[in-house]
Amino acid sequence: MSVEIKVGMADLNVCVSPDRITTLGLGSCVGIALRDPVTKIGGLAHIMLPDSTTIRNNSNIPKFADTGIEELVKQVTRKGANRSRLVAKIAGGAQMFGFNSNSEMVRVGERNVQATKKKLAELRIPILAEDTGKNFGRTVIFYPETGDFVIRAVGKQEYKI
């Protein structure tokens, strides 16, 4: 029997085939799925902010792209994934509201995606597919067995990347 593991906001977890791992309603946050295609061990992080170093209160590791991705790599390798075989798929980082605000928070989705890509490049983890930006929320389900990243959005057919 396969189990569905749920990841909340500012949260991460590992997942081994045949189980699947999901996070519901990604908005401006980014979901990062990692996978070792040989051992079929994977994991999913749901990050909220791009950079832990610009924020004083930064002890919540899964909240930030930089520390969250590092921690996810650590946890999947501890579970038995091979560090050098890891590949990634990413989704989210939408801009849910369009109004012009002085707050740079409005563009946080875009900055989350940029920070995610930067961190993955730094760790030399290739991004196989992405579904990011735009203006709608996404639920994602990741299957470490196949590497499929299934995306569900309001008013759209379910699709996979």
Binding site: M9, D11, N60, M96, F97, S103, G137, R152
Partner: protein, 205 residues
């Protein structure tokens, strides 16, 4: 002026914020009743300080489709405010306001702008009461409306809170007319504004 952390907030501050929320939601209910020209009752608002992980479960579930109205605030209090309403409740409200039952699953352009106006009035009256209690100037921006999954809409205020700490303050208000309308207010003042709000109420920080 000292800085306030939501993670280390004392009961006293929390009670004050809760009371501000109660009064704000009460005023918003009155405004709603005037707009709809009928009696609208309100249950005592539930004020919660939630961890991000618990957010979805505290509401109706991350994938429930909701209408979210979001606007920035400037002045003595800076930050933003959001009002969320389940899609069915939003359709009911707009239908009543426009004097006809709303058809279909999607909002028409007309309904969408009516809903934006509803949100504008509700958040406006909420902010007005906040402004008159604290005697602080609050200038709301033009609101924006989106209809999407609750989790995705909530990510926007949650991210603003995330820059300050690890919890988010949410005020849940239940309105009743012929049906129960579950509404959620989320006020996100920046850290300095918390201090100003509390100081304006004579609370030493």
């Amino acid at each position: 002026m000292g800085e306030i952390s939501l993670d280390e907030m004392s009961n006293e501050y929390f009670d004050v914020l809760r009371e501000l929320g109660n009064i704000g939601a009460g005023n918003a209910t009155t405004a709603l009743a005037q707009m709809m020209q009928c009696k609208v009752d309100m249950a005592v608002p539930k004020v919660q300080l939630l961890e991000f992980k618990e957010l979805g479960e505290a509401m109706v579930g991350e994938e429930t489709v909701m209408a979210g109205i979001y606007l920035g605030i400037e002045g003595d209090i800076k930050g933003s405010i959001m009002f969320l309403l389940e899609k069915a409740a939003a359709k009911h409200l707009v239908g009543k306001l426009m004097g006809m039952e709303s058809e279909g699953d999607e909002f028409t352009d007309m309904e969408f702008s009516a809903l934006k106006e509803v949100g504008n009035i509700i958040t406006g009256s909420y902010l007005n009461s906040l402004s008159s209690i604290t005697n602080l100037a609050i200038y709301p921006s033009v609101p924006d409306l989106t209809v999407d999954m609750a989790g995705a809409i909530l990510s926007v205020p949650a991210i603003e809170f995330a820059a300050l700490g690890d919890r988010m303050l949410m005020i849940q208000t239940q309105f009743f007319d012929e049906m129960v309308l579950d509404g959620y207010f989320i006020l996100i003042p920046d850290l300095d504004s918390y201090g100003r709000m509390l100081a304006a109420l004579g609370i030493n920080i």
